[in-house]
């Protein structure tokens, strides 16, 4: 079952506590979830229900207090840091809720950053791919601008292009369209869905936008640390 090829991402009875002592909160209370390759999933729910917390666990940026996570059939929930780091670089593209760009670097450099680490492409190929990705989020003209000289929505679109850089099998996006106008939100969403359809990537996104949630293949509503 763990080797089922169609399932890119699976988690089982995930628990996560946050905070210390009296402030300790049981944020995730046994979340189970599956994402198939080639499908787009929307996680929806009220603010504070634990969506970001779940996404960090799935993106191997955090470790669960209980439960298991499989990435492409490999158990990852409590594996070594080096294994998890390698998996992040190769299999996972993560878009943070608060679009984290490296502001000292240009849009191009930000997009090339994961490629340079992975080192599978030649420098020229990297530049070509970065240009193409920035073109697909409508920022090809601003590709040489520093992060500090981009608007919030522009930064977010660069962050999305960066998440796609290494052609990860799993894309995890925490409110990727949160800061965007309707037109750009549509561009970003279409880009993510086309990747799922054409390349067979699994896309999991958190959204508060009902239209977008509606257009996803699956919608998973969440409340108080559990899917309902």
């Amino acid at each position: 079952m763990a080797n089922e090829p169609k399932i890119a991402l699976r988690c089982d009875k995930l628990h996560r506590y946050l905070g210390q002592a009296e402030g300790r909160v049981h944020v995730l209370r046994g979340v189970s979830f599956e994402a198939q390759a080639g499908s787009v999933y929307a996680i929806v729910g009220p603010s504070g229900c634990g969506k970001s917390t779940l996404l960090y666990l799935l993106g191997l940026l955090d470790q669960p207090d209980g439960g298991e996570i499989w990435i492409n059939g490999r158990l990852m929930s409590n594996s070594e840091d080096s294994v998890r780091t390698a998996a992040r670089g190769e299999h996972i593209g993560f878009v943070f809720q608060f679009h984290f760009l490296m502001l000292e670097f240009t849009a191009m450099e930000n997009v090339m950053m994961p490629m340079r680490k992975l080192g599978k492409l030649s420098p020229i190929q990297m530049e070509e791919r970065a240009t193409q990705l920035l073109d697909s989020v409508g920022l090809v003209d601003k590709r040489h601008r520093l992060g500090t000289h981009l608007s919030g929505g522009e930064q977010q679109r660069v962050a999305i292009a960066r998440a796609l850089a290494n052609q990860p099998t799993i894309i995890l996006a925490d409110e990727p369209t949160g800061n965007l106008d309707v037109k750009n939100a549509a561009i970003v969403f279409d880009l993510l869905t086309s990747l799922a359809k054409d390349n067979g990537q699994a896309v999991v996104l958190v959204t508060h936008n009902p239209d977008i949630a509606h257009r996803c293949d699956f919608t998973r509503p969440m409340r108080d640390g559990l899917f309902v």
């Binding site: 780091t85 490296m102 340079r116 680490k117 960066r162």
Partner: protein, 414 residues
């Protein structure tokens, strides 16, 4: 150029203030180190140069055999030693200088040997008289064990070589007796008067030498002191001056003569210089420590300000090692630039203080602050900076590597 280096460089140039802060720590540390080294070793180095240039690295004097007993007469340093050989007769000085010279020359480290015949005399010009020490030398030999050639300030050495009865007199004697090159004067020994002519005036800068020594040719000295053979002592110069103690000890035993190395002879002054150097070394160490702490603080701040970027990099697959390397690279870049500028500034300040007027006379003579130019000072300064930066950057960079991306993003990283 590695990606980690590229990131480090960009981080650094984007944080101008932190960069300037840590750069100045290194520049100050390296610069101060160089300047204090140059300044403290300058005087000592000059002093040693003067000692070696006047009295040589090793002096070999007569030594009493176990079966002999000696009585020194006419006071210290007279060179007139009377010895009694099992109640037979008194012999003074080195008996067979040529033989002993050959023995000394068999040591590999020996550069030159000069036999000197010395005695106390009265020097008299038409103006006044004074007591002096006459040194009979073979000039060619003596040039190989001293800096006499470069100490001539008036007249010429060539003249001394060829002129019958020529003499080289100290600057202070020349002033006192009002003698110039070409002037005649008398030397009186035991009531007998000999005539000499000033070939040249030398200046070592050492008061005790310039005011009493008069160099004359060996055959003249033999006639003056009525010593057809023998010598008072042998002056020896070495290729490696730092081996003088070992060589002297070996010469003492193998040649059965008393051999004194320069370190032993000038122990008290060298001790003063050492104390001086230790005192400044302590000051510099304290400063280096403070600079190191400031550097540590700055690097730790850089890490704190960059936690967000650490989380981003980690999320993209950059390993803990990459993160610590990025911060180590920053330290290395600052170190390289800081060391280069620090060496430049150190050299500049060293030059500056070498121009500072500071007249000293007595143990040596100088008009300016003395500094030593040595590449080793620069090397030592850079090595110290490397150690300091390594110590200061290790903990912050490791801390950066340990940060969990999840914790950073939630803002709960410590």
């Amino acid at each position: 150029m590695s990606q980690n280096f590229r990131i480090a460089f960009r981080f650094l140039t984007a944080k101008k203030r932190a960069m300037v802060m840590s750069l100045s720590c290194i520049i100050l540390g390296v610069g101060l180190f160089i300047v204090t080294q140059a300044a403290t070793s300058g005087f000592q180095e000059f002093f040693i140069k003067v000692i070696l240039g006047t009295n040589g690295a090793i002096l070999i004097q007569d030594k009493l055999q176990a079966t002999m007993r000696s009585i020194e007469v006419s006071g210290y340093n007279s060179g007139v030693e009377i010895r009694q050989k099992e109640g037979q007769k008194y012999i003074e000085g080195i008996e067979y200088p040529a033989l002993l010279t050959a023995g000394v020359k068999s040591f590999h480290n020996v550069k030159g040997v000069s036999a000197v015949l010395r005695g106390t005399v009265v020097m008299r010009s038409s103006f006044r008289e004074q007591s002096a020490q006459a040194y009979g030398i073979v000039i060619e030999d003596h040039l190989s064990v001293s800096d006499l050639a470069s100490q001539i300030v008036q007249g010429s050495l060539e003249d001394f070589k060829v002129q019958e009865g020529g003499a080289l007199i100290g600057r202070v004697i020349a002033d006192k007796l009002q003698l110039d090159p070409g002037d005649s004067f008398e030397i009186e020994n035991k009531g007998e008067i000999h005539h000499f002519k000033v070939s040249g005036i030398y200046q070592t800068g050492v008061g005790d030498i310039d005011s009493v020594r008069v160099y004359i040719q060996m055959d003249q000295a033999r006639a003056l002191f009525k010593k057809p053979t023998g010598a008072t002592y042998l002056q020896v110069s070495l290729f490696d001056r730092n081996r003088a103690l070992e060589d002297a000890a070996e010469m003492s035993t193998s040649l059965a003569h008393k051999a004194d190395a320069w370190q032993e002879r000038e122990k008290s002054w060298l001790g003063v210089f050492r104390a001086f150097r230790v005192a400044t070394a302590i000051t510099v160490s304290v400063f280096t420590l403070i600079a190191g702490l400031a550097m540590f603080n700055t690097l730790a701040m850089i890490v704190l300000e960059k936690t967000k970027e650490i989380a981003i990099l980690r999320s993209m697959g950059y390993t803990r090692q990459d993160i610590s390397r990025i911060f180590l690279w920053q330290a290395v870049i600052v170190l390289a630039i800081g060391s280069a500028i620090g060496c430049g500034i150190g050299a500049l300040i060293t030059y500056g203080i070498s121009q500072y007027p500071l007249p000293i006379t007595g143990i040596f003579t100088t008009h300016k602050f003395l500094v030593q130019w040595s590449k080793w000072h620069y090397l030592e300064a850079v090595v110290t900076a490397v150690l300091m930066v390594m110590a200061a950057s290790l903990i912050p960079s490791r801390r950066a590597a340990r940060l969990e991306p999840g914790d950073i993003i939630r803002g709960t990283a410590q």
